[in-house]
Amino acid sequence: MVVDEVKVPLRDVRRTIKEFYNPQEWHFITVNGVDLGGKVELKWFFTRYGEEEYFKVVTAEASYEDEVPTITYLIPSAWISEWELADLFGLNVEGAKKGLFLDPESPQAPLRRG
C-alpha cells in the first residue's frame, strides 16, 4: 500500500488540493476527522483511478473554533462529507448546514472526546 501524505496548515488545504486535483484522474474518497482533545485532525483522502493500493492524504489540524475551508468549489460532491463533519464534530465548516443526521434533542457533537 502506497500512502502519499502531506501535512499542511488548515488555511492551505484548499490550495494544496487545487494544485493536484483533476476530476479525470483523481477520485475523492472522503474527509475524515479524529478528535485529539481540544482539536480535530482532518484528513482528506484521494485515490487515483486504475492505480492499485494508492492513497493520497492531505492532513491538517483544526481547533474547535477554526473555520474549516470547504472544497466544494473543486469537488462538488464533497458537501455531504463536510456537512457530516459539521454535524458530528460540531466544527464550523464553511457553508455547511447542521442537522444532516442529528436532531435537536440528540447530543450535539457526539464524536468529540470527553
Partner: protein, 361 residues
C-alpha cells in the same frame, strides 16, 4: 410557467424500502429543485465502536450497519485490523471470505434488480427475481448458518468451515442459479417494454460520474472504470477470474444490465473458488493491541466502501470511520433529479440501490 408545487417523497413511501426523504419542487411535471434528508436512521454506530465495544467485537457491530452487505462491512473492518496488526490470514479463509462476499453480492444485486422491476410496474418479474434470489439465501444459510447477518468473517479468519456435504449441495444450487441468472439477464437485456421504460432515463454521463465521484454499479454503467476489487488487493480476486464489467450509457437500463452481468461474473468466481479451495487452517489467533492507523477500500455490492481505523494500544479503538457507497452517490442523485420528470423519480432512486442505513449509520 406553472405554479411551483412541493411534492414530498418519503420517508415512508410505497415504492421505497428505505426511510429517505426527498422534497421536490415541481413546475408542471418537471422538477426544479430538490432537498434530501438522509438522517432518519442515524444511530451513532461510529461513536459506539470507539467507546463501548472492544476491538474484537467491533466486527460484529459494524455488520449491523447494513444487513444487505453485512459481509462487506465486516470484511472492511477485519481487513483494516489485520493489516494494522500484521496478521497473516490463511489462504483457505481468504477464499471462503471471497465466496461469501460474492454470494452476498449476487443476492444484493438480484434484490436491486427486482425492486427496479417492481417500481416499473413489472410485479411478475419482481417475484421471479426474488424467487431465484431465495436460492442464494439458501446457499448462504448452508454456508454460514444464517440468512442475513451471518457474522462469517472474524479477525484472523472465518468462523465456519466448508464441509464436503455442504459443498456438494452448493454445487447443485449454483448450477441451478446459473441457469436462472442467465435467463434473468436475458429478460433484463431484451425485454421490450423494460427497455422502453428505462433506456435513456436518469442518465449519468461519464464526465458527471468523474466529477461527482460516483462509485459502484452506477459509475461502471456510465463507463467509468472503477472497482475496488481491481484497485485494492484485499482478497485474491485476480486468481479466481474476476473481470471488470463496464458499460456505456449510464441510464437505468444499463445499471440493471450491469448488475445482471456482474451476477454472472460472480457465479463464475464462486465456481472457481469451489474448484480450487486450498486446504488448511481457517483461523489464526489475533493477539496484541492495535496501534496506529489504517485505511482500506472494499468493493461492497453498491460500490466502494472505505474504512478508517485508529488505535492506541488500548482494547477500545480511538476512531472507526465508515464511508459507505450510497453516501457518495447521494450528491449525484440530487444533481440528477433537477430537470427530470416526476414520474421517473422512483425508478431512478431505486436503480441507484440506495442503502440508507449505511449512509446514516
Amino acid at each position: 410557467m406553472g405554479k411551483r408545487i412541493t411534492v414530498p417523497f418519503g420517508s415512508q413511501h410505497v415504492a421505497l424500502p428505505e426511510p429517505v426523504r426527498f422534497v421536490f419542487q415541481t413546475e408542471n411535471e418537471k422538477i426544479v429543485d430538490v432537498e434530501v434528508d438522509v438522517g432518519y436512521v442515524h444511530r451513532g454506530i461510529e461513536k459506539a465502536c470507539a467507546t463501548k465495544f472492544k476491538y474484537m467485537q467491533v466486527g460484529y457491530v459494524v455488520a449491523r450497519v447494513c444487513g444487505l452487505c453485512a459481509i462487506s462491512h465486516t470484511l472492511g473492518y477485519v481487513t483494516a485490523l489485520e493489516r494494522l496488526m500484521g496478521v497473516e490470514v490463511p489462504k483457505r479463509a481468504l477464499y471462503l471470505r471471497l465466496l461469501v462476499s460474492e454470494l452476498d453480492r449476487i443476492h444484493s444485486h438480484l434484490l436491486a434488480m427486482g425492486h427496479t422491476a417492481e417500481v416499473a410496474g413489472y410485479e411478475n418479474l419482481f417475484m421471479q427475481t426474488f424467487r431465484h434470489r431465495e436460492l442464494v439465501m439458501e446457499m448462504l444459510e448452508l454456508l454460514t448458518g444464517n440468512r442475513v447477518q451471518f457474522d462469517f468473517a472474524c479477525p484472523g479468519g472465518v468462523n465456519r468451515d466448508l464441509t464436503p456435504e455442504v459443498e456438494k449441495v452448493l454445487r447443485e444450487k449454483l448450477k441451478l442459479l446459473e441457469e436462472k441468472a442467465l435467463w434473468l439477464k436475458d429478460v433484463y437485456e431484451n425485454d421490450f417494454s423494460l427497455a422502453l421504460r428505462w433506456k435513456g432515463i436518469g442518465v449519468v454521463t461519464e464526465k458527471m460520474a468523474k466529477e461527482m465521484n460516483v462509485v459502484g454499479p452506477p459509475a461502471r454503467a456510465a463507463g467509468l472504470k472503477t472497482d475496488a476489487r481491481a484497485e485494492f488487493n484485499y482478497l485474491p480476486f485476480k486468481e479466481v477470474g474476476y473481470k471488470m464489467v463496464v458499460l456505456k450509457g449510464g441510464s437505468i437500463y444499463e445499471r440493471n444490465l450491469l448488475r445482471a452481468l456482474e451476477v454472472l461474473n460472480s457465479i463464475q468466481m464462486c465456481w472457481n473458488v469451489l474448484d480450487g479451495l486450498p486446504e488448511g487452517e481457517i483461523k489464526v489467533p489475533v493477539k496484541g493491541l492495535p496501534e496506529g492507523e489504517m485505511f482500506v477500500r472494499i468493493e461492497a455490492p453498491r460500490g466502494e466502501l472505505f474504512y478508517y481505523i485508529r488505535g492506541s494500544q488500548k482494547l477500545v479503538l480511538d476512531r472507526v470511520r465508515i464511508r459507505v457507497p450510497t453516501f457518495s452517490n447521494i450528491p449525484v442523485m440530487k444533481e440528477l433529479f433537477v430537470g427530470m420528470d416526476y414520474a421517473d423519480v422512483p425508478a431512478t432512486v431505486i436503480s441507484f440501490d440506495p442503502c440508507l442505513s449505511c449512509t446514516a449509520r
